[in-house]
Point group: C2
Chain length 280, copies 2
C-alpha cells in the first residue's frame, strides 16, 4: 500500500512521466499529471491533468491541492532554464532567490531546493521508482551479453570518475574505452556526450562503456540516472561495447526494449553494485 492517497506527477521530458502514470493506472491508484509547459511529452496530455509553466509554483501548488494530491513525484528531464526568460507567478518569484542561489551550486542543488519547497507546502515527495517499482535497475547482466574483465576495468574507472566529480554537481555519466577517458558529462547531458564519442575512439571495432550512476550524496528521490532503449541505440551508434548503471540507484525505462536493442547488437547492459566498483 502506498503511503499517500493521491499522487501528483510533475511531468518533465521523456517517457518516465508516462511510465509513472501507467503504473498508477495499473494499480488503480489515483493520480494527476501536472505537465510542465513546453517540456512534458505530448502523450502525457492523454492522462487526467493540467498544464503549468516552469516557474508557476503558486499555480502548481493550487492545482495539486485542488485535485487532492498529498504526494508528488518529479518525473522526467527538465533542462536548466534561462532564468532571465522565466515568467514566474507570485509564489514562483518568491522562490526564485533560493533557486538562483542553488543554481550557483549546480543542477542537483536546484532540484533539492524544489523538493524542500514542495515539502514545506506539506507534500510527500516520492521517487519515481516508488511509483513504478519495476523501473529500478537490478544487479547483473540485463541481456545475453556480460562485460568481460577489461570492460569491468573501464566500468570501475568511469564509476570512480563520476564519484570524484560528484562534489562539483557536474554530470552523472562518463565513457571510458580501454582505460582511456573518452568523455565526461556536464551540462550537455548524456545524449550529446554519446554523440561526440563516435569520433573519439581510437580503437577499431566496438570499444568502451557508458557508465551512469548518481553523484555521491545526491537527493535520490529526484534525478536518478536513467537509461532507455534510446540510450542503448545511441551507445551502439557511438561504437561502444556496453552500458553500465548502478543497480538500485538508476532507472531503466522499458527494460524489454532495452534488452532487445542490446541483444540485437551484442551490447551488454549491466547493473553494477558499489562493492563491484570499489578499488580492489
Amino acid at each position: 500500500m502506498p503511503r499517500w492517497r493521491k499522487l501528483g506527477i510533475i511531468a518533465g521530458a521523456g517517457a518516465l512521466p508516462r511510465r509513472a502514470a501507467d503504473a498508477c493506472l495499473k494499480r488503480g491508484a489515483p493520480f494527476f499529471v501536472l505537465r510542465i509547459a513546453g517540456v512534458a511529452d505530448e502523450a502525457t496530455a492523454d492522462f487526467p491533468g493540467a498544464e503549468c509553466g516552469l516557474a508557476e509554483f503558486g499555480k502548481a501548488v493550487r492545482l495539486l491541492r485542488a485535485e487532492g494530491c498529498d504526494a508528488v513525484t518529479l518525473a522526467g528531464l527538465v533542462r536548466r532554464p534561462n532564468f532571465a526568460d522565466l515568467r514566474p507567478d507570485w509564489r514562483g518569484a518568491a522562490l526564485l532567490p533560493k533557486v538562483l542561489a542553488a543554481a550557483a551550486r549546480g543542477d542537483g542543488a536546484i532540484l533539492e531546493s524544489l523538493v524542500d519547497s514542495l515539502e514545506a507546502e506539506g507534500f510527500i515527495v516520492v521517487g519515481a521508482e516508488e511509483v513504478a517499482d519495476d523501473i529500478l535497475a537490478t544487479a547483473g547482466a540485463f541481456g545475453a551479453v556480460a562485460p568481460d574483465a577489461a570492460d569491468f576495468a573501464d566500468i570501475r574507472k568511469a564509476a570512480a570518475l563520476i564519484a570524484a566529480i560528484g562534489p562539483f554537481d557536474a554530470g552523472q555519466a562518463a565513457v571510458v574505452a580501454g582505460g582511456h577517458v573518452l568523455a565526461v558529462e556536464a551540462a550537455e547531458g548524456t545524449d550529446a556526450m554519446l554523440e561526440r564519442c563516435a569520433g573519439l575512439r581510437a580503437e577499431a571495432g566496438r570499444a568502451g562503456v557508458l557508465v551512469k550512476r548518481p553523484k555521491p550524496g545526491q537527493e535520490l528521490r529526484v534525478d536518478l540516472p536513467t537509461i532507455g532503449a534510446d540510450t542503448v541505440r545511441r551507445a551502439i551508434a557511438a561504437g561502444l561495447k556496453g552500458v553500465a548503471v548502478e543497480a538500485g540507484l538508476s532507472l531503466v525505462l522499458d527494460r524489454d526494449a532495452v534488452v532487445a536493442a542490446a541483444d540485437a547488437n551484442g551490447l551488454f547492459v549491466y547493473g553494477f553494485t558499489n562493492r563491484e566498483v570499489q578499488s580492489p
Copy 2:
C-alpha cells in the same frame, strides 16, 4: 646558456614547434625540426629538419643522432592515434607494447612512456618553455580586464574540478559559469569543448570561464596546457567572460595576439597561482 648543444624539436600540430624554432634562431642556437608526418604544421618545413612517421621511433632516433642532437623537446599537439593503423618501424614495434600499456592509463601516460624511451636513448628531454622562455604564463591579468569575485569563484571551482579528475588522466580543462559546470574536457580537446558551450549557457550576456591547468603530478616537460589567440576567439564565440590558466604551468602562444583579441572583446585572460585557487 642552455644545458645542451643541439636541440631536436619533435613537431606536433599547432604553432608551438614554430615558436620553439624561432626562439632557437633568435639565440643562434643549433636546432633540427623532426616533423611528425601528417601532424606537424606545414610552415615547420621552412626550418632545417626532416619528416618521420608517428611510430617510426628507430628512424627518429637515427635522424636526431645523425644531426648531432643531444636534447629533444616534444612540441605541439598529437592526437591519440588509432593504434591498429600505425605503421611502426622495427624499434617502434619494440616500443609498442609499453605504449599500449600506457595508453590504457591515459594520454598523459603515453607521453610519459615516450619521454622515458627518449631518455633511455640518451637524449636530454626539455620542456618547450625552457626553449622559448617567454611562453610560460605569468601570474595576474594579461590584458585590460581582470576577473571579479564571481569569476574567481568559477575559476576556483573549475581548478578544483580539474585537480579532482587528474588521477583519471582525462582532460586539463573545464568551463564553469556562475557556479554551474558547463563542460569537462576529456578526449575531445579544448576546442571541441568550447564549441558545445555556446548552446549550454543559461545566462544572458557573457558568462563563464575556461580554466586550464596541468593534472596534479603530470610530467611537466610535455603536454603543458596551452592557449593562444585562437583559444581566446573560441572563448568569445562560446560567450564566455574569460580564460584562466595556471601561472608558471601553462603556455601562452603569441601573448600579444592573445591580449589584443581579449581586450578587443572585453574578455579577461588571467594567470592564477595554486594558492589563489585553494579553498579559503
